[in-house]
Protein backbone atom coordinates (compact mmCIF):
# COMPACT_ATOMS: atom_id res chain seq x y z
CA UNK A 1 0.00 0.00 0.00
CA UNK A 2 2.56 2.55 -1.04
CA UNK A 3 3.32 3.86 -4.45
CA UNK A 4 0.60 1.66 -5.89
CA UNK A 5 -2.12 3.33 -3.88
CA UNK A 6 -0.70 6.78 -4.40
CA UNK A 7 -0.96 6.36 -8.15
CA UNK A 8 -4.21 4.46 -7.93
CA UNK A 9 -6.40 6.48 -10.28
CA UNK A 10 -9.33 6.01 -7.94
CA UNK A 11 -7.56 7.77 -5.09
CA UNK A 12 -6.17 10.42 -7.38
CA UNK A 13 -9.44 11.13 -9.11
CA UNK A 14 -11.49 11.10 -5.98
CA UNK A 15 -9.27 13.38 -4.01
CA UNK A 16 -7.47 15.12 -6.81
CA UNK A 17 -4.61 16.03 -4.53
CA UNK A 18 -1.26 14.38 -3.98
CA UNK A 19 -1.08 15.24 -0.29
CA UNK A 20 -4.49 13.61 0.29
CA UNK A 21 -3.20 10.45 -1.32
CA UNK A 22 -0.25 10.49 1.09
CA UNK A 23 -2.56 11.02 4.08
CA UNK A 24 -4.72 8.11 3.03
CA UNK A 25 -1.57 6.00 2.94
CA UNK A 26 -0.33 7.12 6.35
CA UNK A 27 -3.57 6.87 8.33
CA UNK A 28 -4.07 3.39 9.82
CA UNK A 29 -7.55 1.87 9.69
CA UNK A 30 -10.01 2.26 12.56
CA UNK A 31 -8.22 5.17 14.15
CA UNK A 32 -9.53 8.55 15.31
CA UNK A 33 -8.57 11.46 13.05
CA UNK A 34 -8.98 15.21 13.52
CA UNK A 35 -8.65 17.30 10.36
CA UNK A 36 -8.01 20.98 11.09
CA UNK A 37 -9.50 23.16 8.38
CA UNK A 38 -11.32 20.18 6.90
CA UNK A 39 -13.17 22.20 4.25
CA UNK A 40 -16.22 20.35 2.97
CA UNK A 41 -15.00 17.12 4.54
CA UNK A 42 -13.75 15.46 1.37
CA UNK A 43 -10.70 13.80 2.94
CA UNK A 44 -12.50 12.81 6.14
CA UNK A 45 -15.45 11.25 4.37
CA UNK A 46 -13.01 9.29 2.20
CA UNK A 47 -11.11 8.11 5.29
CA UNK A 48 -14.37 7.19 7.05
CA UNK A 49 -15.57 5.25 4.04
CA UNK A 50 -12.32 3.51 3.13
CA UNK A 51 -10.42 3.24 6.40
CA UNK A 52 -13.30 3.09 8.83
CA UNK A 53 -11.84 5.96 10.85
CA UNK A 54 -13.67 8.01 13.44
CA UNK A 55 -13.49 11.25 11.44
CA UNK A 56 -13.70 14.67 13.10
CA UNK A 57 -13.16 18.03 11.47
CA UNK A 58 -12.84 21.70 12.32
CA UNK A 59 -13.77 24.34 9.78
CA UNK A 60 -14.50 28.04 10.03
CA UNK A 61 -16.63 28.54 6.91
CA UNK A 62 -20.31 27.75 7.63
CA UNK A 63 -21.08 26.79 4.02
CA UNK A 64 -18.26 24.23 4.05
CA UNK A 65 -19.29 22.94 7.48
CA UNK A 66 -22.79 22.41 6.13
CA UNK A 67 -21.45 20.33 3.25
CA UNK A 68 -19.18 18.34 5.56
CA UNK A 69 -22.01 17.48 7.96
CA UNK A 70 -24.23 16.59 5.01
CA UNK A 71 -21.51 14.13 3.95
CA UNK A 72 -21.72 12.53 7.38
CA UNK A 73 -18.56 14.09 8.77
CA UNK A 74 -18.55 15.20 12.39
CA UNK A 75 -17.52 18.76 11.72
CA UNK A 76 -17.23 21.53 14.26
CA UNK A 77 -17.58 25.12 13.12
CA UNK A 78 -14.85 27.11 14.79
CA UNK A 79 -11.40 28.60 14.63
CA UNK A 80 -8.74 25.90 14.46
CA UNK A 81 -6.21 27.87 16.48
CA UNK A 82 -8.66 28.61 19.28
CA UNK A 83 -10.44 25.26 19.36
CA UNK A 84 -7.44 23.01 20.03
CA UNK A 85 -7.11 24.00 23.69
CA UNK A 86 -10.46 22.35 24.51
CA UNK A 87 -9.52 18.85 23.41
CA UNK A 88 -8.02 16.54 26.04
CA UNK A 89 -4.46 15.17 25.72
CA UNK A 90 -4.06 12.31 23.27
CA UNK A 91 -7.67 12.50 22.10
CA UNK A 92 -6.79 11.54 18.52
CA UNK A 93 -4.50 9.10 16.77
CA UNK A 94 -3.74 11.67 14.07
CA UNK A 95 -4.26 15.40 13.77
CA UNK A 96 -4.07 16.58 10.17
CA UNK A 97 -3.22 20.10 9.06
CA UNK A 98 -3.23 20.37 5.29
CA UNK A 99 -1.83 23.41 3.48
CA UNK A 100 -2.69 25.66 6.42
CA UNK A 101 0.37 25.90 8.69
CA UNK A 102 1.57 28.88 6.64
CA UNK A 103 -1.78 30.61 7.26
CA UNK A 104 -2.05 30.31 11.04
CA UNK A 105 -0.93 33.08 13.32
CA UNK A 106 1.29 31.01 15.59
CA UNK A 107 2.48 27.92 13.70
CA UNK A 108 4.69 26.57 16.49
CA UNK A 109 1.90 26.84 19.04
CA UNK A 110 -0.46 25.05 16.64
CA UNK A 111 2.10 22.27 16.06
CA UNK A 112 2.61 21.84 19.81
CA UNK A 113 -1.14 21.69 20.40
CA UNK A 114 -1.54 19.17 17.57
CA UNK A 115 1.10 16.99 19.21
CA UNK A 116 -0.63 17.33 22.56
CA UNK A 117 -4.16 16.37 21.43
CA UNK A 118 -2.94 13.84 18.86
CA UNK A 119 -0.47 11.00 19.17
CA UNK A 120 0.79 12.00 15.74
CA UNK A 121 0.54 15.10 13.60
CA UNK A 122 0.37 15.01 9.82
CA UNK A 123 1.32 18.32 8.26
CA UNK A 124 1.37 19.26 4.61
CA UNK A 125 2.63 22.66 3.54
CA UNK A 126 3.78 24.45 0.40
CA UNK A 127 7.55 24.70 0.20
CA UNK A 128 8.64 28.29 -0.20
CA UNK A 129 12.12 27.10 -1.12
CA UNK A 130 10.98 25.61 -4.43
CA UNK A 131 13.15 26.72 -7.34
CA UNK A 132 10.27 28.45 -9.13
CA UNK A 133 9.65 30.64 -6.08
CA UNK A 134 13.34 31.45 -5.83
CA UNK A 135 13.53 32.21 -9.54
CA UNK A 136 10.42 34.42 -9.52
CA UNK A 137 11.83 36.40 -6.62
CA UNK A 138 15.26 36.66 -8.18
CA UNK A 139 14.06 37.74 -11.60
CA UNK A 140 11.30 40.16 -10.61
CA UNK A 141 12.65 41.45 -7.31
CA UNK A 142 9.09 41.34 -6.03
CA UNK A 143 7.06 39.10 -3.74
CA UNK A 144 7.16 35.85 -5.73
CA UNK A 145 4.07 34.68 -7.58
CA UNK A 146 3.91 31.12 -8.89
CA UNK A 147 1.14 28.64 -9.63
CA UNK A 148 1.60 27.36 -6.09
CA UNK A 149 1.67 30.89 -4.61
CA UNK A 150 -0.70 32.73 -6.94
CA UNK A 151 -1.78 35.56 -4.64
CA UNK A 152 -0.74 39.17 -4.63
CA UNK A 153 1.21 39.94 -1.47
CA UNK A 154 -1.66 42.08 -0.13
CA UNK A 155 -4.43 39.50 -0.41
CA UNK A 156 -2.55 36.29 0.28
CA UNK A 157 -3.85 34.03 3.06
CA UNK A 158 -0.22 32.96 3.60
CA UNK A 159 1.38 34.89 6.43
CA UNK A 160 4.44 32.70 7.08
CA UNK A 161 6.78 31.75 4.27
CA UNK A 162 8.95 28.79 5.19
CA UNK A 163 10.76 25.98 3.48
CA UNK A 164 11.41 22.27 3.89
CA UNK A 165 14.74 23.10 5.53
CA UNK A 166 13.09 25.57 7.90
CA UNK A 167 10.69 22.87 9.05
CA UNK A 168 13.51 20.34 9.51
CA UNK A 169 15.47 22.83 11.64
CA UNK A 170 12.42 23.54 13.79
CA UNK A 171 11.72 19.81 14.22
CA UNK A 172 15.29 19.23 15.43
CA UNK A 173 15.09 22.16 17.82
CA UNK A 174 11.72 21.08 19.22
CA UNK A 175 12.85 17.47 19.52
CA UNK A 176 10.12 16.15 17.25
CA UNK A 177 10.45 12.68 15.86
CA UNK A 178 9.82 12.76 12.12
CA UNK A 179 8.47 9.33 11.27
CA UNK A 180 7.85 9.97 7.62
CA UNK A 181 8.49 12.68 5.08
CA UNK A 182 7.12 12.74 1.55
CA UNK A 183 7.88 15.44 -0.98
CA UNK A 184 5.75 16.17 -4.01
CA UNK A 185 6.10 18.13 -7.19
CA UNK A 186 2.72 18.30 -8.93
CA UNK A 187 1.65 15.01 -7.32
CA UNK A 188 4.89 13.25 -8.38
CA UNK A 189 7.17 12.17 -5.60
CA UNK A 190 10.47 14.06 -5.26
CA UNK A 191 13.34 11.87 -4.08
CA UNK A 192 16.25 14.31 -3.99
CA UNK A 193 16.92 17.95 -3.11
CA UNK A 194 13.44 18.45 -1.65
CA UNK A 195 14.13 22.00 -0.47
CA UNK A 196 14.71 22.94 -4.09
CA UNK A 197 12.43 20.58 -5.97
CA UNK A 198 9.38 19.94 -3.77
CA UNK A 199 6.26 22.06 -4.12
CA UNK A 200 4.55 20.32 -1.25
CA UNK A 201 5.99 18.61 1.81
CA UNK A 202 4.11 16.09 3.94
CA UNK A 203 5.44 15.21 7.40
CA UNK A 204 4.35 12.62 9.92
CA UNK A 205 5.54 13.87 13.29
CA UNK A 206 5.35 12.68 16.88
CA UNK A 207 6.94 13.77 20.12
CA UNK A 208 10.13 11.99 21.11
CA UNK A 209 9.24 9.90 24.11
Amino acid sequence: MTAAQRTDPFVRNLLGRGDYAIFSEIVAPQTCVLDLGCGDGELLSWLAENKDVDARGVEMDAAKVQKAIAKGVSCYQGNLEECLADYPDGAFDYVILSQTLQEVRRPLQVMNEMLRVGRRAIVAFPNFGHWRVRLAHLLTGRAPKTTRFPHEWYDSPNIHFFTVDDFEILAAKENWNIEKRVFLDDNREVKMLPNLLAETAVYLVRLKS
Partner: protein
Protein backbone atom coordinates in the same frame (compact mmCIF):
# COMPACT_ATOMS: atom_id res chain seq x y z
CA UNK B 1 -49.96 11.83 5.40
CA UNK B 2 -53.10 11.90 7.56
CA UNK B 3 -52.30 11.43 11.22
CA UNK B 4 -54.14 11.00 14.49
CA UNK B 5 -53.27 11.73 18.09
CA UNK B 6 -53.24 8.81 20.49
CA UNK B 7 -53.24 8.91 24.26
CA UNK B 8 -51.45 6.62 26.67
CA UNK B 9 -52.21 6.52 30.39
CA UNK B 10 -49.58 5.71 33.01
CA UNK B 11 -50.39 4.86 36.62
CA UNK B 12 -48.14 7.52 38.08
CA UNK B 13 -45.23 9.87 37.54
CA UNK B 14 -42.92 11.04 40.31
CA UNK B 15 -41.97 14.66 39.89
CA UNK B 16 -38.78 16.47 40.83
CA UNK B 17 -40.76 18.52 43.38
CA UNK B 18 -41.60 15.32 45.29
CA UNK B 19 -45.26 15.14 44.29
CA UNK B 20 -46.57 12.07 42.46
CA UNK B 21 -49.08 12.62 39.70
CA UNK B 22 -51.46 9.67 39.32
CA UNK B 23 -52.55 8.86 36.73
CA UNK B 24 -50.82 10.72 33.89
CA UNK B 25 -51.96 10.90 30.28
CA UNK B 26 -49.63 11.57 27.42
CA UNK B 27 -50.82 12.52 23.94
CA UNK B 28 -48.60 11.51 21.04
CA UNK B 29 -48.42 10.94 17.32
CA UNK B 30 -46.22 8.58 15.35
CA UNK B 31 -45.12 8.60 11.71
CA UNK B 32 -43.45 5.81 9.76
CA UNK B 33 -42.91 2.24 10.90
CA UNK B 34 -40.81 0.80 13.71
CA UNK B 35 -38.42 -1.76 12.21
CA UNK B 36 -38.05 -5.33 13.50
CA UNK B 37 -34.87 -4.47 15.42
CA UNK B 38 -36.63 -1.43 16.94
CA UNK B 39 -33.57 0.59 16.08
CA UNK B 40 -35.01 3.33 13.87
CA UNK B 41 -37.05 5.36 16.39
CA UNK B 42 -36.63 9.11 16.58
CA UNK B 43 -38.24 11.22 19.29
CA UNK B 44 -39.09 14.79 18.32
CA UNK B 45 -39.45 17.13 21.30
CA UNK B 46 -41.55 20.23 20.80
CA UNK B 47 -40.93 23.84 21.70
CA UNK B 48 -42.86 25.92 24.22
CA UNK B 49 -46.17 26.25 22.38
CA UNK B 50 -45.96 23.11 20.26
CA UNK B 51 -47.87 19.88 20.59
CA UNK B 52 -47.88 16.23 19.51
CA UNK B 53 -48.99 17.16 16.00
CA UNK B 54 -45.52 17.58 14.51
CA UNK B 55 -46.16 16.30 11.00
CA UNK B 56 -48.82 15.34 8.50
CA UNK B 57 -52.38 16.61 8.20
CA UNK B 58 -54.78 16.61 11.12
CA UNK B 59 -58.01 15.15 9.70
CA UNK B 60 -60.20 17.40 11.84
CA UNK B 61 -58.55 20.79 11.45
CA UNK B 62 -56.83 20.06 8.12
CA UNK B 63 -53.75 21.71 9.63
CA UNK B 64 -50.18 20.66 8.97
CA UNK B 65 -47.95 19.67 11.89
CA UNK B 66 -45.65 22.32 13.37
CA UNK B 67 -42.53 20.70 11.83
CA UNK B 68 -44.15 19.10 8.79
CA UNK B 69 -41.46 20.63 6.59
CA UNK B 70 -38.84 18.49 8.35
CA UNK B 71 -40.74 15.24 9.05
CA UNK B 72 -42.17 13.01 6.32
CA UNK B 73 -41.24 10.82 3.38
CA UNK B 74 -37.79 11.87 2.07
CA UNK B 75 -37.67 14.86 4.42
CA UNK B 76 -34.92 15.59 6.98
CA UNK B 77 -36.48 13.10 9.38
CA UNK B 78 -37.39 10.60 6.68
CA UNK B 79 -40.46 8.60 7.68
CA UNK B 80 -39.73 6.07 4.94
CA UNK B 81 -36.69 5.06 7.01
CA UNK B 82 -37.46 6.14 10.53
CA UNK B 83 -40.22 5.74 13.08
CA UNK B 84 -40.85 9.24 14.39
CA UNK B 85 -42.64 9.98 17.65
CA UNK B 86 -43.75 13.32 19.06
CA UNK B 87 -45.62 13.75 22.34
CA UNK B 88 -47.21 16.76 24.02
CA UNK B 89 -45.16 17.81 27.06
CA UNK B 90 -46.20 17.36 30.67
CA UNK B 91 -47.99 20.52 31.80
CA UNK B 92 -49.26 21.11 28.28
CA UNK B 93 -52.81 21.64 27.15
CA UNK B 94 -53.02 19.45 24.06
CA UNK B 95 -53.89 16.08 25.50
CA UNK B 96 -51.12 15.48 28.03
CA UNK B 97 -51.85 16.01 31.73
CA UNK B 98 -51.46 19.65 32.72
CA UNK B 99 -53.00 22.36 34.88
CA UNK B 100 -56.17 22.24 32.77
CA UNK B 101 -56.70 18.54 33.56
CA UNK B 102 -59.01 17.18 36.26
CA UNK B 103 -57.32 16.41 39.57
CA UNK B 104 -58.60 12.91 40.39
CA UNK B 105 -58.24 13.66 44.12
CA UNK B 106 -60.79 16.49 44.02
CA UNK B 107 -62.69 15.99 40.79
CA UNK B 108 -61.89 19.64 39.98
CA UNK B 109 -59.54 21.15 37.43
CA UNK B 110 -55.99 21.44 38.84
CA UNK B 111 -55.47 25.08 37.98
CA UNK B 112 -52.79 26.50 40.25
CA UNK B 113 -52.86 23.39 42.46
CA UNK B 114 -50.95 21.61 39.68
CA UNK B 115 -47.47 20.81 41.02
CA UNK B 116 -44.39 22.64 39.77
CA UNK B 117 -42.91 20.70 36.86
CA UNK B 118 -39.47 20.62 35.28
CA UNK B 119 -37.90 19.76 31.94
CA UNK B 120 -36.65 16.63 33.74
CA UNK B 121 -40.25 15.63 34.53
CA UNK B 122 -41.26 16.13 30.90
CA UNK B 123 -38.41 13.88 29.78
CA UNK B 124 -39.19 11.23 32.41
CA UNK B 125 -42.73 11.01 31.04
CA UNK B 126 -41.39 10.73 27.48
CA UNK B 127 -39.07 7.93 28.65
CA UNK B 128 -42.09 6.04 29.98
CA UNK B 129 -43.86 6.45 26.66
CA UNK B 130 -40.82 5.30 24.68
CA UNK B 131 -40.46 2.23 26.91
CA UNK B 132 -44.18 1.48 26.54
CA UNK B 133 -43.78 1.59 22.76
CA UNK B 134 -41.18 -1.18 23.13
CA UNK B 135 -38.18 0.98 22.26
CA UNK B 136 -35.04 0.39 24.33
CA UNK B 137 -32.78 2.83 22.60
CA UNK B 138 -33.71 5.81 20.46
CA UNK B 139 -31.78 6.39 17.26
CA UNK B 140 -32.15 10.11 17.88
CA UNK B 141 -33.82 12.76 19.99
CA UNK B 142 -34.24 16.09 18.21
CA UNK B 143 -35.88 19.40 18.92
CA UNK B 144 -35.50 23.16 18.94
CA UNK B 145 -35.75 25.77 21.67
CA UNK B 146 -37.47 24.18 24.70
CA UNK B 147 -37.41 20.99 22.63
CA UNK B 148 -33.63 21.31 22.60
CA UNK B 149 -33.57 21.49 26.40
CA UNK B 150 -35.41 18.17 26.47
CA UNK B 151 -32.87 16.75 24.02
CA UNK B 152 -30.01 17.77 26.33
CA UNK B 153 -31.85 16.37 29.35
CA UNK B 154 -32.36 13.05 27.54
CA UNK B 155 -28.65 12.82 26.68
CA UNK B 156 -27.62 13.62 30.26
CA UNK B 157 -30.13 11.38 32.09
CA UNK B 158 -30.46 8.45 29.71
CA UNK B 159 -27.08 8.18 27.97
CA UNK B 160 -27.61 4.50 27.16
CA UNK B 161 -30.99 5.07 25.58
CA UNK B 162 -30.03 7.76 23.06
CA UNK B 163 -27.70 6.97 20.15
CA UNK B 164 -27.73 10.53 18.89
CA UNK B 165 -29.05 13.96 19.78
CA UNK B 166 -29.89 17.08 17.77
CA UNK B 167 -30.39 20.08 20.06
CA UNK B 168 -31.29 23.14 17.97
CA UNK B 169 -31.33 26.83 18.95
CA UNK B 170 -31.26 25.99 22.62
CA UNK B 171 -29.38 26.45 25.87
CA UNK B 172 -28.14 24.43 28.86
CA UNK B 173 -29.80 27.06 31.08
CA UNK B 174 -31.84 30.24 30.70
CA UNK B 175 -30.02 33.54 31.02
CA UNK B 176 -31.42 36.46 33.04
CA UNK B 177 -32.70 37.92 29.76
CA UNK B 178 -34.63 34.77 28.85
CA UNK B 179 -36.13 34.53 32.33
CA UNK B 180 -37.03 38.23 32.14
CA UNK B 181 -39.04 37.82 28.94
CA UNK B 182 -40.86 34.82 30.41
CA UNK B 183 -41.65 36.81 33.53
CA UNK B 184 -43.20 39.62 31.48
CA UNK B 185 -45.46 37.03 29.86
CA UNK B 186 -46.44 35.52 33.19
CA UNK B 187 -47.15 38.91 34.73
CA UNK B 188 -49.31 39.87 31.74
CA UNK B 189 -51.46 36.77 32.34
CA UNK B 190 -51.69 37.20 36.09
CA UNK B 191 -52.56 40.90 35.74
CA UNK B 192 -55.65 39.95 33.72
CA UNK B 193 -58.61 39.97 36.16
CA UNK B 194 -60.12 37.10 34.20
CA UNK B 195 -57.15 34.95 35.22
CA UNK B 196 -58.72 34.83 38.70
CA UNK B 197 -55.81 33.02 40.37
CA UNK B 198 -56.00 30.35 37.74
CA UNK B 199 -59.70 29.56 38.29
CA UNK B 200 -61.21 30.46 34.96
CA UNK B 201 -62.09 27.06 33.53
CA UNK B 202 -65.69 27.03 32.35
CA UNK B 203 -65.81 30.84 32.54
CA UNK B 204 -64.24 33.76 30.74
CA UNK B 205 -60.64 33.06 29.72
CA UNK B 206 -57.81 35.47 30.57
CA UNK B 207 -57.51 36.23 26.86
CA UNK B 208 -56.10 39.74 27.12
CA UNK B 209 -53.25 38.70 29.39
CA UNK B 210 -52.45 35.58 27.40
CA UNK B 211 -52.44 37.43 24.10
CA UNK B 212 -50.11 40.13 25.44
CA UNK B 213 -47.80 37.38 26.71
CA UNK B 214 -47.80 35.83 23.26
CA UNK B 215 -47.11 39.18 21.59
CA UNK B 216 -43.95 39.60 23.68
CA UNK B 217 -42.98 36.05 22.75
CA UNK B 218 -43.36 36.70 19.04
CA UNK B 219 -41.10 39.75 19.23
CA UNK B 220 -38.36 37.61 20.77
CA UNK B 221 -38.76 34.94 18.07
CA UNK B 222 -38.04 37.38 15.25
CA UNK B 223 -35.01 39.52 14.44
CA UNK B 224 -34.61 43.21 13.76
CA UNK B 225 -33.96 42.40 10.10
CA UNK B 226 -36.87 40.01 9.63
CA UNK B 227 -39.27 42.50 11.26
CA UNK B 228 -37.97 45.32 9.11
CA UNK B 229 -38.46 43.26 5.98
CA UNK B 230 -41.81 41.82 6.98
CA UNK B 231 -43.44 44.99 8.35
CA UNK B 232 -41.16 48.01 8.05
CA UNK B 233 -43.19 51.06 9.02
CA UNK B 234 -46.12 50.11 6.81
CA UNK B 235 -49.53 50.96 8.19
CA UNK B 236 -52.94 49.38 7.93
CA UNK B 237 -54.92 52.27 6.44
CA UNK B 238 -58.24 50.75 7.50
CA UNK B 239 -57.27 50.50 11.17
CA UNK B 240 -54.78 53.34 11.48
CA UNK B 241 -52.15 51.08 13.09
CA UNK B 242 -48.77 49.77 12.03
CA UNK B 243 -48.71 46.41 10.32
CA UNK B 244 -46.48 45.01 13.04
CA UNK B 245 -49.14 45.93 15.61
CA UNK B 246 -51.82 44.27 13.55
CA UNK B 247 -49.67 41.14 13.17
CA UNK B 248 -48.91 40.86 16.89
CA UNK B 249 -52.56 41.38 17.84
CA UNK B 250 -53.61 38.71 15.37
CA UNK B 251 -51.03 36.20 16.63
CA UNK B 252 -51.96 37.04 20.22
CA UNK B 253 -55.68 36.49 19.77
CA UNK B 254 -55.09 33.33 17.72
CA UNK B 255 -53.02 31.90 20.56
CA UNK B 256 -55.84 32.32 23.08
CA UNK B 257 -57.94 29.83 21.12
CA UNK B 258 -55.37 27.06 21.36
CA UNK B 259 -53.36 27.56 24.52
CA UNK B 260 -54.15 27.44 28.22
CA UNK B 261 -52.91 30.41 30.28
CA UNK B 262 -51.98 28.22 33.26
CA UNK B 263 -49.93 25.94 30.99
CA UNK B 264 -48.11 29.10 29.91
CA UNK B 265 -47.21 29.81 33.53
CA UNK B 266 -46.10 26.27 34.36
CA UNK B 267 -44.15 25.55 31.20
CA UNK B 268 -42.28 28.88 31.12
CA UNK B 269 -41.34 28.26 34.76
CA UNK B 270 -40.04 24.81 33.85
CA UNK B 271 -37.86 26.40 31.16
CA UNK B 272 -36.53 29.01 33.59
CA UNK B 273 -35.72 26.35 36.20
CA UNK B 274 -33.87 24.15 33.71
CA UNK B 275 -30.15 23.91 34.36
CA UNK B 276 -28.40 21.02 32.66
CA UNK B 277 -25.45 21.33 35.03
CA UNK B 278 -27.76 21.29 38.05
CA UNK B 279 -26.24 24.52 39.29
CA UNK B 280 -23.27 22.60 40.69
CA UNK B 281 -21.26 20.35 38.44
CA UNK B 282 -19.71 21.42 35.19
CA UNK B 283 -21.49 20.50 31.96
CA UNK B 284 -18.62 18.17 31.13
CA UNK B 285 -19.26 16.22 34.35
CA UNK B 286 -23.01 16.03 33.69
CA UNK B 287 -22.39 14.46 30.31
CA UNK B 288 -19.81 12.08 31.79
CA UNK B 289 -21.50 8.81 30.89
CA UNK B 290 -22.77 10.00 27.53
CA UNK B 291 -21.64 8.28 24.35
CA UNK B 292 -24.33 9.96 22.34
CA UNK B 293 -23.33 11.50 19.02
CA UNK B 294 -24.37 15.14 18.81
CA UNK B 295 -25.38 17.52 16.06
CA UNK B 296 -25.77 21.00 17.54
CA UNK B 297 -27.31 23.79 15.46
CA UNK B 298 -27.65 27.50 16.19
CA UNK B 299 -28.55 30.51 14.03
CA UNK B 300 -26.69 33.76 13.46
CA UNK B 301 -29.66 36.10 14.07
CA UNK B 302 -31.15 34.23 17.04
CA UNK B 303 -30.79 36.69 19.89
CA UNK B 304 -33.22 34.86 22.19
CA UNK B 305 -31.07 31.69 22.21
CA UNK B 306 -27.73 33.13 21.06
CA UNK B 307 -25.06 30.83 19.61
CA UNK B 308 -22.80 31.16 22.66
CA UNK B 309 -25.31 29.07 24.60
CA UNK B 310 -25.13 26.23 22.07
CA UNK B 311 -21.35 26.58 21.96
CA UNK B 312 -21.18 26.08 25.71
CA UNK B 313 -22.68 22.62 25.22
CA UNK B 314 -20.46 21.91 22.22
CA UNK B 315 -17.29 22.90 24.05
CA UNK B 316 -18.20 20.82 27.09
CA UNK B 317 -18.58 17.83 24.76
CA UNK B 318 -15.31 18.59 22.99
CA UNK B 319 -13.51 18.72 26.32
CA UNK B 320 -14.34 15.06 26.78
CA UNK B 321 -13.70 14.32 23.12
CA UNK B 322 -17.28 13.35 22.44
CA UNK B 323 -18.49 13.10 18.86
CA UNK B 324 -20.11 16.51 18.24
CA UNK B 325 -20.84 18.30 14.99
CA UNK B 326 -21.70 21.96 15.32
CA UNK B 327 -22.88 24.56 12.86
CA UNK B 328 -24.08 28.14 13.20
CA UNK B 329 -26.40 28.45 10.23
CA UNK B 330 -26.74 31.83 8.61
CA UNK B 331 -30.29 33.10 8.87
CA UNK B 332 -32.13 36.38 9.21
CA UNK B 333 -35.17 34.85 10.88
CA UNK B 334 -34.04 35.04 14.50
CA UNK B 335 -35.18 32.27 16.83
CA UNK B 336 -37.93 31.27 14.36
CA UNK B 337 -35.14 30.08 12.05
CA UNK B 338 -35.30 26.52 13.40
CA UNK B 339 -38.84 26.27 12.01
CA UNK B 340 -38.13 28.22 8.82
CA UNK B 341 -34.67 27.24 7.54
CA UNK B 342 -35.75 23.89 6.15
CA UNK B 343 -33.36 23.31 3.27
CA UNK B 344 -30.10 23.68 5.22
CA UNK B 345 -31.36 21.70 8.21
CA UNK B 346 -32.70 18.93 5.96
CA UNK B 347 -29.31 18.47 4.34
CA UNK B 348 -27.32 18.26 7.55
CA UNK B 349 -29.89 16.24 9.51
CA UNK B 350 -30.00 13.67 6.70
CA UNK B 351 -26.20 13.38 6.55
CA UNK B 352 -25.95 13.11 10.32
CA UNK B 353 -28.71 10.50 10.66
CA UNK B 354 -27.23 8.47 7.82
CA UNK B 355 -23.92 8.24 9.69
CA UNK B 356 -25.58 7.50 13.03
CA UNK B 357 -27.75 4.78 11.46
CA UNK B 358 -24.68 3.10 9.98
CA UNK B 359 -22.98 3.15 13.40
CA UNK B 360 -26.03 1.70 15.18
CA UNK B 361 -26.49 -1.09 12.64
CA UNK B 362 -22.84 -2.09 13.06
CA UNK B 363 -23.12 -2.58 16.82
Amino acid sequence: MVVSTQTRRFDSLELDCGVTLAPVDVAYQTYGTLNAERSNAILITHAFSGDAHAAGIDPQTQQKGWWDSMIGPDKGFDTDQHFVICSNVLGGCRGTTGPGSIDPATGEVFGMTFPVITIGDMVRLQAKLIAALGIERLLCVAGGSMGGMQVLEWAARYPDRVASAIPIATTPRHSAQQIAFNEVGRQAIMADPDWNNGNYYGGKLPGRGLSVARMVGHITYMSDESMRQKFGRRQREDQGIFEVESYLRYRGSQFVDRFDANSYLYITKAMDLFDLAGGQQSLTAVLERSKTKFLVISFTSDWLYPSYQSQEVVNALRRRNQDVAYIELTSKYGHDAFLVEVEEQTEIVKGFLHRVTKGVNRR
